[in-house]
Amino acid sequence: MEIGSGVRIGPFEVFAPLQPAVSTVRHYGEHLFPGRLIVVEGIDGSGKSTQLSLVHKWLESKGYGVVFSEWNSSPLVKDTTKHGKKKKLLTPATFSLIHSTDFADRTERSILPLLKAGAVVLCDRYIYTAFARDVARGMDRDWVRELYGFAVKPAIAFYFRVPLETAIHRLLDGRDGFKFYEAGMDLNLADDSVESFRMFQGRILSEYEKMIPEFGLTVVDATLPIEVQQAQVRQIVKAHLDKAKELRVQA
């Protein structure tokens, strides 16, 4: 849909609902804001957060305005999510909805306005996390995709691909077991949290694999040394930032 500067932001108009009617689109919003949205995806233990924080420091040192947004961190919503997890109130459906609410708040409050302002927005996990987890919990694949129809399409979505056993070794190095929902214990797959984690994350991995062609995720081999991965990532990010600068000049 077109708003002001010709911006596509999703299947409905987010910020100017009572302005003149606009046409609607089905796919995730392509945007022409001066900012750039870069997201990282992958299972826990894939090393995506490490890679993103290195990108963050690098871009800051280059003088870009960089903002970081983490999955499940909305100040308005996260207490409710915490309450739901602590009391084990969440079903697959409400788990999905409360996370979409959190994501909506971050989209409305920070991601969109910051992209408008020309920032580079870095997201640790994005809608693909929800697609993978919620479908692994038995939610309807199309329903979840439509739920997130308001999301802004990222310039780059990195997928850090790692074998399940490697991820488990990395994670268990620092702690004894997994948290209830993290391990998918709500699905009663196994009594043991490590075994449950293995089964649940296995489902998630197979969802990620399907999303690579569906959403054009950029795959990074997360078994490579950190420096090698970072070099690859920076090269790809750099190409997209050149475009961003051009756009900024035009505007």
């Binding site: 079903t91 697959p92 129809g149």
Partner: protein
């Protein structure tokens, strides 16, 4: 069997939801809660177990929504999804279990209000419908309709202007009065549209509370009566078929046994009699012939 609006939540079984789901819809000030307060004891007096529920009452998200609304920084998409979370929590943990246990569920607003609130805030109607495609279709939706002229004094003179009821998130530059009128008019338009789409039973809420209540009671009685007759018939039908089936089996067994052993059959026959009392068989025949 009960239906949803198109999609099924994981582990949601639609069989055996024997209770009744009755929705009271309407804008702010239409008297929804007054009616529910009148209907609940009335239904209980008639011997029905009743559960009442309404927006933002979920254990999961109710408190979170209230806190979020205290500030003025609740975005429109966020608001729509927060309400959806609250609704689905109540659907899964209150409404469905109550219906399964045979309760009458009286709900103060349902997905229609949630859709209207989101649509007037500019959300794509297809998007919000997709989210609520997991909701159960209710047995009846009573829409308490009140024109803007009648609504204004009821809401404003009793409790004053409220930020959200006045749609101040949509019209921040207006004063509360102008904003309230524009917002409630937009909601009414949307409700009228939904009314046609989802077959609301329109109730003129401008009449006194007692008149409205009498009207609702009459319609609810019809609904319950229609249903109890249907239940009775199907029970009768099932009973007579199962007894017939049992009789056939017994006869077969008897044939396999010694024909002298008639005691078993003699005992079995009276068991079938109670269900054929009165004109039970007649009902059965009519039902079967349809």
């Amino acid at each position: 069997m009960r239906e949803t609006y198109g999609r099924l939540l994981p582990e949601m079984r639609l069989a055996d939801l024997a209770g009744k789901l009755i929705v009271i819809e309407g804008t702010d000030g239409a008297g929804r809660s007054t009616q529910i307060d009148l209907l609940k004891p009335w239904l209980e007096e008639l011997g029905h177990a009743v559960v009442d529920t309404g927006m933002t009452r979920s254990f999961l998200a109710g408190e979170g929504i209230r806190r979020a609304k205290e500030g003025n920084n609740l975005g429109r998409v966020t608001q729509a999804l927060f309400y959806a979370t609250d609704f689905v929590d109540r659907l899964e943990n209150e409404i469905v279990p109550a219906l399964r246990a045979g309760f009458i569920v009286l709900t103060d607003r349902y997905i229609y209000s949630l859709m209207a609130l989101a649509i007037v805030r500019g959300m794509d109607p297809r998007w919000i419908r997709s989210i609520y495609s997991v909701a159960l279709k209710p047995d009846a939706v009573f829409y308490l309709r009140l024109g803007i002229d009648q609504l204004l004094p009821r809401v404003v003179f009793s409790r004053g202007f409220d930020y959200w009821e006045s749609g101040m998130d949509l019209y921040p530059s207006h004063d509360m009065f102008d904003s309230f009128c524009s917002y409630q008019a937009a909601l009414l338009t949307e409700f009228d549209r939904l009314s046609a789409e989802f077959n609301f039973q329109m109730v003129d809420a401008a009449a006194g509370a007692r008149t409205v209540c009498a009207h609702l009671q009459q319609n609810i009685l019809q609904l319950l009566e229609r249903d109890s007759r249907k239940n009775f018939m199907s029970r009768l039908y099932n009973d007579s078929t199962t007894t017939a089936h049992a009789a056939v089996q017994e006869k077969a067994q008897e044939r396999a046994n010694k024909p002298a052993d008639t005691a078993l059959f003699a005992v079995a026959t009276p068991v079938a009699t109670p269900s054929t009392n009165g004109n039970g068989h007649h009902h059965h025949a009519t039902h079967h012939g349809q």
